[in-house]
């Protein structure tokens, strides 16, 4: 099953690649449309839009999913029901492809809901209590986005069909489009885990690692960004875009800080994904959709690679995910640490790896156009934080002393996992330049003063030094953390947003429903319908039985009495 799906998806990726090259070189885009039913003024059509953006995204999705399925053959080989996982992953890929190629909202809804549902099934795959909780959090947060898209479908019926791409140029200033754009932004924010809805992404790390590599790094969370890229012409002058800018740079900043306090390997990577998502959303809301798309694709590559390396390391550490137990691994697992280092450095934006092309372009565009001071500061600060937690991670896992705290099995020669990582390694090295040559026909004109250009490098060096120093903290180092207990718990627990969005929202209703249940369901409702009626009937029956249990002559006498009563009644 694994091999079949791997080959199929790889082949699919090659087809997409060749079509992408052909389409982008000739500037083609193909639009298929099947009309299913048409009544009065509403027509239900199934349409497929194939232009270079959707083909490129499909190519990346199928590449990552084929590599992940191949990887999971070895990662999950002790799983009895591996076919279940493969089928779920394939359904996920199908929903994602449906989302990518659809220019009308109904098929976007199918893909969107499918993504949410299947990611729930994948998160609860291990079926323990933590997975159930995480799955519930994931599913319900995604559900808000589903509701928003449903309402958009409802509102866009105003215009006659659900193909939104036809209405951008004509209806931009309409009130209905205003509402639609608001709801689309909220839907994208739930899917891509921006600030009000960001609690599900670290919690969804309860999923198996290949699933995290596919779902939570490159495909599910970028669906929101992709939707906004498609809707970009509509949203570009609106007020909500500025709100989105604000929230996404705060997301970027917050997750960068929280990742510095985390000690769980997968959570650090999840928070780094969250930070990069904030980056993508913010550059999108500043008005550069193609740069956002570029960063989406390169980030998918190295983040999936990073998750897979994390999976290999977790296997080696006997399923421990805590980085405090790891150390000094670079000496013993050279190939895996090669992949880990390259993906980490690409994440930081080290020159000429793939992440550099997109990140550096983003930062230069932010510096070149005149945005306000807070945007500028938070962008560079978050870049510095990215380098900070990356270097902290590298120090903890790779460079510091070899901790003898766990039973190790440093087996680096698992070539199934390694081959899949090498594919992504190749792509994560080269995809930056490759994509920038394809997507940008002409380079952006950027003219910056010298120090502003080097600001990125200053911030990165500062972050790396801080990361090195922070990771040297041990049990005997003199730190005054207890003095800043409140501040550090605020920063570590993601600014308390998981608590607010789960317990804070539901507390009132759960309390109220307990009062209702106790007083009505187990109280008055029992007296007036359940036990009460039973008691009444029982009493009537007991009362009747007094008349039933009698001598026979009483019965005969009662008959005579009845006759007399009826006789008298007639004459009255």
């Amino acid at each position: 099953m694994c091999f079949n799906s791997f080959f199929f998806l790889f082949f699919f990726m090659l087809i997409n690649f060749f079509f992408f090259v052909y389409f982008i070189m000739n500037g083609l885009s193909v639009f298929f449309e099947w009309e299913i039913i048409s009544f009065n003024s509403m027509s239900i059509v199934m349409s497929i839009l194939l232009d270079w953006m959707s083909l490129l995204f499909m190519m990346f999705v199928s590449l990552i999913s084929s590599v992940v399925i191949f990887y999971s053959k070895s990662y999950m080989n002790s799983e009895l029901n591996l076919n279940r996982l493969i089928i779920l992953v394939l359904m996920f890929v199908f929903s994602m492809v449906l989302l990518i190629i659809s220019p009308n909202l109904i098929s976007i809804l199918l893909g969107w809901d499918g993504l949410g549902l299947i990611s729930y099934c994948l998160v609860i795959y291990y079926q323990n209590l933590k997975s159930y909780n995480a799955g519930m959090l994931t599913a319900l947060s995604n559900r808000i986005g589903d509701v928003m898209i449903l309402m958009v479908i409802c509102w866009i019926m105003n215009y006659g069909s659900w193909n939104y791409i036809f209405y951008f140029d004509f209806m931009k200033n309409d009130y209905v489009m205003f509402i639609i754009s608001f709801m689309i932004i909220i839907a994208a924010m739930t899917k891509s885990a921006q600030i009000p809805f960001s609690s599900w992404l670290p919690a969804a790390m309860a999923a198996p690692t290949p699933v995290s590599a596919l779902v939570h790094s490159s495909t599910l969370v970028t669906a929101g960004v992709y939707l906004l890229i498609r809707f970009n012409y509509l949203l570009i002058d609106m007020f909500f875009f500025k709100v989105l800018l604000f929230l996404s740079i705060l997301t970027m900043f917050m997750s960068g800080i929280s990742a510095n306090y985390e000690f769980d390997l997968k959570k650090i990577i999840a928070l780094s994904t969250l930070s990069q998502l904030g980056l993508m959303m913010s550059i999108l809301s500043l008005g550069f959709p193609d740069i956002a798309f570029f960063h989406l694709l390169t980030h998918a590559m190295f983040k999936a690679l990073l998750f897979m390396c994390a999976g290999v390391i977790i296997h080696m550490m006997n399923d421990i995910q805590d980085i405090r137990y790891m150390g000094g691994l670079s000496l013993y697992i050279p190939l895996t640490s090669l992949c880990l280092n390259i993906s980490n450095l690409s994440l930081c934006g080290i020159p000429f790896l793939s992440g550099f092309y997109s990140k550096d372009l983003i930062l230069e565009m932010v510096s070149f156009n005149s945005f306000n001071l807070m945007v500028f500061i938070l962008f560079y600060l978050s870049t510095g934080l990215t380098v900070f937690y990356t270097f902290r991670l590298i120090m903890y896992v790779m460079i510091s002393d070899f901790n003898l705290m766990m039973i190790y099995n440093l087996y680096d020669e698992d070539y199934i996992m390694l081959n899949s990582m090498f594919v992504l390694l190749f792509m994560s090295l080269l995809s930056g330049s490759f994509l920038s040559w394809f997507i940008f026909f002409y380079p952006y004109m950027i003219y910056l003063p010298f120090n502003l250009k080097l600001m990125v490098i200053y911030v990165s060096i500062l972050g790396s030094i801080l990361g090195f120093m922070v990771s040297n903290m041990g049990i005997y180092s003199l730190n005054k953390l207890l003095l800043s207990y409140n501040l550090s718990s605020f920063l570590c627990l993601m600014w308390f947003m998981p608590n607010l969005s789960t317990y804070g929202l539901s507390y009132i209703y759960l309390n109220f429903s307990q009062i209702l249940f106790k007083n009505i369901d187990m109280g008055w409702s029992e007296i007036y319908s359940g036990k009460g009626i039973f008691n009444i009937l029982k009493n009537y029956s007991v009362f009747y039985n007094i008349y039933q249990m009698n001598n026979f002559k009483i019965y005969l006498f009662s008959f005579i009495l009845w006759f007399m009563i009826l006789f008298i009644f007639f004459f009255i």
């Binding site: 009537y540 009747y544 039933q548 019965y555 009826l566 004459f571």
Partner: protein, 334 residues
Amino acid sequence: MNNNSNKMFFLFILFFSTLISISSNSWFGCWIGLEINLLSFIPLISNSKNLLSVETSLKYFLTQSLASINFLFMILIKFSLLKNFDMNNIISIMMNSSLLMKMGSAPFHFWFPNIVEGLSWMNNFMLMTWQKISPMILLSYYFNKNFLIFMIIMNLIIGSLGGLNQTSLRKLLAFSSINNLGWMIFSIMISENLWLFYFLIYSMMIFMMISLFFLMNMYFMNQLFINNMNFFIKLNLLINFLSLGGLPPFMGFMPKWIIINFLLINKFYFLTFIFMMTSLIIIYYYIRIIYSSFMFNYFKMKWMNLLMKNNMSLINLSSFISISSMILSTFIFM
């Protein structure tokens, strides 16, 4: 008397007496039929070796003869004083009440659970089904609508409330029979054909239940719990009880449905409400028995084995009829 030939003789006369009573064209002939009915039923139920059954037959004799005397008296008054066909007068009330006493309908029903307690299952079957035919048909010749509606309401209420506190299976079926009498009396007021339909289905359901109880020799409710019946017998009993209560996919729902249809067409709304609610109480009681004895928590005794190998075909057939006859009848009739 234990001789089968004697029983056959009296059974024959019993059947014949009902036919006499129905098909006579004078009230006098009806009365004769009722008397012969009484006289031929008494030897069927009395068994001189058992004191309880003698007492039962005596009780039966006393009540039925009282009713017959009353009936004859009212007939004679009707012949001599009132020569018209007006149905809303005192004579019709009196005639109807004597016929109701013959049937065992409220408020003259007090003898009915007592007598049923003293008879065996097959005699009970006779009492509950065949003995009701001639009074019902005679009722349909000359009834007082307002009086009968009052009687119907009393029947329903007493049948449902009295059955709540019973543990003897015979008394339970007796109260259920009183309740169903209410439905049957109403169906007489609509049309005799409808009464025939209801009566046939009711007697078939009662036959299935009574034959099952007879084969397993069960007279009390605790005997339902402490035996080792196999699954199909339990299922059959479950289905029959639910069908008797009038639950939809089973056979017993069909006549009740048609009667409710007629009730609503003729705008008897309050009466519909009483029919519904008492039906619910009856079904509550059935479900209480069968669920607790067969489904939720039942004992499997090791010291008693009920081998029912020879009778499985009858049981299967009756289950099949109970479940499917409502749907099959739509193929036949519609």
